[in-house]
């Protein structure tokens, strides 16, 4: 009889045993897929919150800008640079910075005025979606501003109120004007929460008498790319400017994301060992319990190689069925939590780590790798767990095998 058919029949002859084994492998795989998705999500979340919320992956400045934050250290000829970056498939946004003083009724506070392109900002980073109240800037809006959360509390303003903004314009004159508060941001980062004031670039240019140039170009990209390689590509496009990755701009956040990723490793090892033991057990039991049966088969003339192939085929069948069930179950759970996230907000709603606010809902992230790696691991582990007992069963002499309990 055909080896495959025999293996297939063997599986269903002892239905209960096979089902138990397949259930064990399916369970192991399902858990692995969910877990892999969860760890991927966990370790990218800190990075993504920082990168996508305010910083972008890479930032371009005038080489002296970050030391002085001087309005005169701008990036010249930025339009051609932006065009070149866009052609290289990067998403970009640009900003203009100045310091000023905002006042409302009796309160006043120092602010960092940030001129942004409202639409580009929406395409590049998440900031425009993190409003506590009101709306993000509209591109045509000439006198609207959006404030950081604590800044609005310090000034005691609500959306719709009109604030006074004072600063020294680029030409040395005194700038002051009235602006309407359109929106208030949620906790984003320490700096923005305390002092962030956003307005349209046109409004900024008019207010600050700053006709040309930008201070910061934010570059981000989609998908998993090597950060340093991307930075190098950007640096080639804008050779005489300072190009820094988010890790260089915020080493603390970089540390934090390294910390969480590294600290996960020992626990990953423990988890996968537990999975390996489950699979090993299931496969070992499935073969060892039947050594007597193989003794009989060999006694009636079955070749050792044949015994081995039947066992291997059985294991392959069971692992495959287990994989289908396990992958379906694991993916369903993982995709569900990818959508809704695992909510830890009852422990603490939003926390600020190294100046960046995180929402305490952990999203599972399903990637091709987080599904394929567990499946490969399952097959390897099943193979390892089958080969040894299968060899043993195939070389054992029939008499001893039949006595084997």
């Amino acid at each position: 009889m055909n080896t495959w058919r025999m293996a297939w029949r063997n599986i269903w002859r002892a239905k209960r045993r096979s089902l138990v084994t397949m259930a064990a492998t399916a369970f192991a795989l399902g858990t692995m897929i969910f877990f892999a998705g969860w760890t991927t999500g966990f370790s990218t979340q800190i990075r993504d919150s920082a990168v996508l919320m305010t910083m972008g992956h890479i930032q371009i400045h005038h080489p002296e800008f970050r030391d002085s934050y001087s309005i005169y250290k701008f990036i010249p000829d930025f339009e051609s640079k932006i065009k070149a970056l866009k052609e290289a498939q990067f998403k970009i946004s640009y900003r203009l910075y100045a310091n000023g003083l905002a006042a409302f009724e009796k309160s006043s506070a120092g602010v960092q005025i940030c001129g942004v392109d409202a639409d580009l900002e929406k395409q590049t980073i998440q900031l425009p979606n993190h409003l506590l109240k009101g709306n993000w800037l509209d591109r045509t809006d000439k006198d609207g501003v959006v404030l950081g959360r604590y800044l609005s509390e310090t000034l005691n303003v609500k959306t719709g109120d009109t604030i006074v903004l004072v600063s020294q314009a680029a030409d040395g004159s005194m700038a002051n004007n009235l602006y309407a508060v359109r929106g208030i941001l949620k906790n984003v980062s320490e700096d923005i929460d305390r002092a962030g004031l956003f307005m349209n670039t046109d409004t900024f240019r008019e207010f600050m008498s700053f006709p040309d140039g930008v201070h910061e170009i934010i570059v981000s990209y989609e998908g998993d790319r090597d950060l340093n390689a991307a930075a190098k590509q950007v640096a080639d496009i804008v050779p005489d400017m300072e190009v820094k990755t988010w890790r260089q701009i915020s080493p603390e956040l970089s540390d934090l994301s390294n910390y969480t990723e590294t600290m996960l490793i020992p626990f990953l090892v423990i988890f996968y060992t537990a999975v390996a033991i489950l699979i090993l057990n299931a496969m070992l039991m499935a073969v060892y319990e039947r050594i007597r049966e193989f003794g009989i088969m060999k006694a009636i003339g079955m070749q050792p190689l044949r015994v081995f192939s039947v066992l291997a085929a059985e294991s392959l069948f069971m692992t495959t069925i287990g994989t289908i069930i396990g992958a379906a179950f694991g993916l369903a759970v993982a995709l569900h939590f990818q959508k809704v996230g695992i909510d830890f907000t009852r422990f603490s709603d939003s926390i600020t780590l190294s100046g960046v606010a995180f929402e305490n809902i952990w999203k599972v992230k399903v990637t091709v790798q987080s599904v394929v790696t567990p499946i490969l691991m399952l097959f390897v582990m099943s193979a390892v767990a089958t080969i040894y007992p299968a060899i043993k069963a195939s070389v054992l002499s029939p008499v001893r095998a039949m006595r084997h309990l």
């Binding site: 138990v20 540390d255 590294t262 423990i270 537990a274 489950l278 422990f347």
Partner: protein, 410 residues
Amino acid sequence: MIWKMAWRNLWRSKRRTIITLVSIVFGIFLAVIHTGLSDGSYSKLIDMAALMGAGHVTIEPIGYRKQQNIEIFITGVSRMIAAIKTRPDVLHASARIVGQAMAATAEDSSGVGFVGIDPFDAKGQLVMLNHIIEGSFDAPSNASVVVIGAGLAKKLGVKLKSKVVITTTDKSGEVVSGLFRVCAIFKTGSDAADKYSIVVPIDSIRKLVGYGPEDASQIAVLVHDQRKAKRVAGELSALAEKHGGVSLPWFDVIPTLAAFIKIKSTSNYFIQILVFLLIAAGIFNTLLMSVLERFREFGIMMAMGMTPYRLWKLILAEASFLAVVGILSGIVFTAPVFCYLHTHGLDMRGLVGQKMSLYGIMFDPVIRTALFIDRELIVICGVFVLVLITGLYPAIIASKTRPVDAIKTL
């Protein structure tokens, strides 16, 4: 008789028993190490935070959290410290004066946070003093000396014995300044400490800000076991109130760290549940298999007069023996690894670099298992219960064997 039979059954099919035992032993091993490592990594972070800042429990003036100001202070500290030190769970308690100041030299100036502490009483109390790379803090408590971080020293351009002017406000809000000599330089690896912290003898800072000898900003209490911080804080509150202060555990003093640890520990519990599920599935699998394989045997036993109830008991007795033997060997197998990880730790230095900090709290890249015996006992009992529970279903199946059918099956 049941027990004897169960015992013999186990050793009659050695291989099966060994496979089951291996899964229990590994179950214990993984669960215990996991618990130990995760407890260890938080305890370490918390202990570090306690050493970096204001102890596991801080006694401070009422309202200090809201307005951290040199103008409010507690008094009668030496009597309080004496009372606190009588508690067996307290490792140490010391008075501190903390505040903001400006440190200046001819070259540059920088805003700093200062900690005033008694040099004789400071050994092992502050992270900064544990990482002195040059000089020493052995000085009378009224000496005008200062310990500064390597980063700050570089910025101010000072070496040992250089002079630094420290300017701050005194208890009535007047600006005061004093001349201090650098007596030691520390390097912790945390920017917050190395660039922005200084340590000065407590009496010299008392003189500067106009405090009496019994006044201080806070009393920092270190406890043997960080998990007791909350209880100790609660029990010290009566004493604190008597002196016009409050007693706070570390998680009220450093809420961001508390939030971070909460997130990390939630995620670790989560992994732990998954690991437990996997272990349970493994044990269940072997127990169920060993029953399924023995239907014929059960059939024969029942044909000879074994009652279903006795058979049920037999299987559970086997499971309990497995659990006991598994747990004992599990402990034997786990203990050395656990102890090794407790004393030597798991060195993550290769992965994270030499030193790193989190919120300005220096973080040791060697994780050790925490020796919280009660936690490990709970885990071990958990595995025991797990084995018995997973044994229930196979036992029920076995007791439902119908002799005729069973003998017919292969």
